[in-house]
Symmetry: C2
Subunit: 244 residues, 2 copies
DNA sequence: GGAATAGTGTCTCTTAGACACTATTCT
DNA sequence: AGAATAGTGTCTAAGAGACACTATTCC
């Protein structure tokens, strides 16, 4: 793998320095809308533009640790945050100063507090997905891939539960799906479907204190079950193919 | 993303060197069995052990180019090879000499010729998945994740067609699924299912020259269609959950 | 002729989704 | 009372899978 290349004359120490960063696509739901954590860059290049939070990996930390640290620097790390690797990007010109390979991570978080701008950013904020400026570097692409991954993951994993409180109603869970997928779902069918998937949610025996603000009976409260995959999956409503 | 960190006192140039490599999980089917491309290491560490082909990225090449180059160095790059990124690994101790971040790629290839050992390896060979030695570094884990990705991708993409010739019979295609998934499939149901998925395969009007070696009618020949996703998907037979 | 295979027909069971309906709670 | 919501019942259409069957080809 690498000795190999020493033989072939490719000593990495002779290369222009390569730096490795992690960038985090952190998603949460606020006021019924999907939000992503962004930081405003204080320095060149792209000073003043918004970007995904991220930074260089440190010598003694693994990649997932670096991603968790970067997220925590902006938000304080909540206990129930889910983090998974997304993809890596290393096009030679993606940062104008030097060769940078970025490993991106996707994070799902329940109601996090407003971020504090880390030492490394002019500002930090949760921004609505549907009202975003153009991002720095290739972060638009990374965010796009993160969103698609998130939408797909809701289909076959119980990760929608990481967007809500520890106990939640089926209607709240449906709200997560509707917000992330951007489509309305049929309340009755969704309800029955969620309860029919083994291990997705488990009842607590409790109900909400009162009905909704606009009426209705008290809803039963559930917590996340122990399933790690959903069988059968909750598929997104069929987007009609453009193909004939 | 990085200016930021300069401010915080993390100049990457002051770090111990970080090297970036690509490692390739290249899969093909030979004699009805799934095979992976491995190289025998000639140098320390792990001299004499088998490993995934890979090597350092070069200053002017993007990550996918590096993966394609590494694969081509061993096999000569066939025109119909599919390559996609798998994941990245950067645990501090994964290579004993220095900090190495590896970006892994997954490749599907039809009947490739026997590999030639590149300049960088003692030997190279297609090895049966079910008869593997323990691999060097963390390559067992990378291979495992590549296999799971491949099995999942056959469900909802037409990538099974990249394992067979440009024209193929439904039975040959079924053989790909059976080999990769490791389960027998019902011939009749598979046949009807494949033809019912829009854009999966398209008929050529041709048939095989003769029937099978053990009899049977001539089979129609198909080529890959233009679908990039399969709707509906071909799901793996339900593996009964251990959960009660 | 006998065996193996390609391809089709048919039936059952499960699931997605549309729609209807009851019961509960808020204003 | 009227409106909104939680949760359930029922019907239909589609797909997965089991099984049966015909036609074709090799030995």
């Amino acid at each position: 793998m690498d000795d190999s290349e020493f033989l072939a004359g490719y000593d990495p120490r002779a290369f222009p320095a390569v730096a490795v960063t992690v960038d985090v696509v952190a998603l949460t739901i606020r006021e019924g809308a999907l939000h992503v954590l962004l930081v405003e860059r204080g320095e060149q290049p792209h000073a003043g533009r918004w970007a995904l939070p991220g930074g260089f990996i440190r010598p003694d930390e693994d990649l997932p640790e670096a991603a968790a640290r970067e997220l925590a620097e902006e938000t304080g790390l909540a206990p129930r945050v889910h983090i998974e690797q997304l993809a890596s990007y290393g096009a030679p010109g993606r940062d104008p100063r030097m060769r940078i390979v970025s490993v991106s991570y996707l994070a799902f978080a329940p109601r996090l507090p407003d971020p504090r701008a880390g030492s490394d950013a002019a500002d930090a904020a949760w921004r609505r997905i549907d009202r975003l400026p153009e991002l720095a570097f290739d972060h638009d692409r990374i965010l796009g891939e993160g969103l698609e991954r998130a939408r797909a993951k809701l289909e076959y994993t119980p990760l929608a539960t990481t967007f809500v409180d520890e106990t939640f109603t089926i209607t709240e869970l449906r709200g997560v799906y509707e917000t992330v997928w951007g489509v309305p779902l049929h309340a009755g069918n969704f309800h029955r479907k969620v309860l029919s998937v083994p291990g997705f949610v488990e009842g607590t025996g409790q109900t909400t204190e009162g009905g909704g603000t606009r009426g209705g009976p008290r809803a039963r409260l559930y917590r996340a079950g122990d399933a790690r995959l959903l069988h059968p999956a909750l598929l997104r409503p069929a987007r009609e193919e453009a193909a004939g």
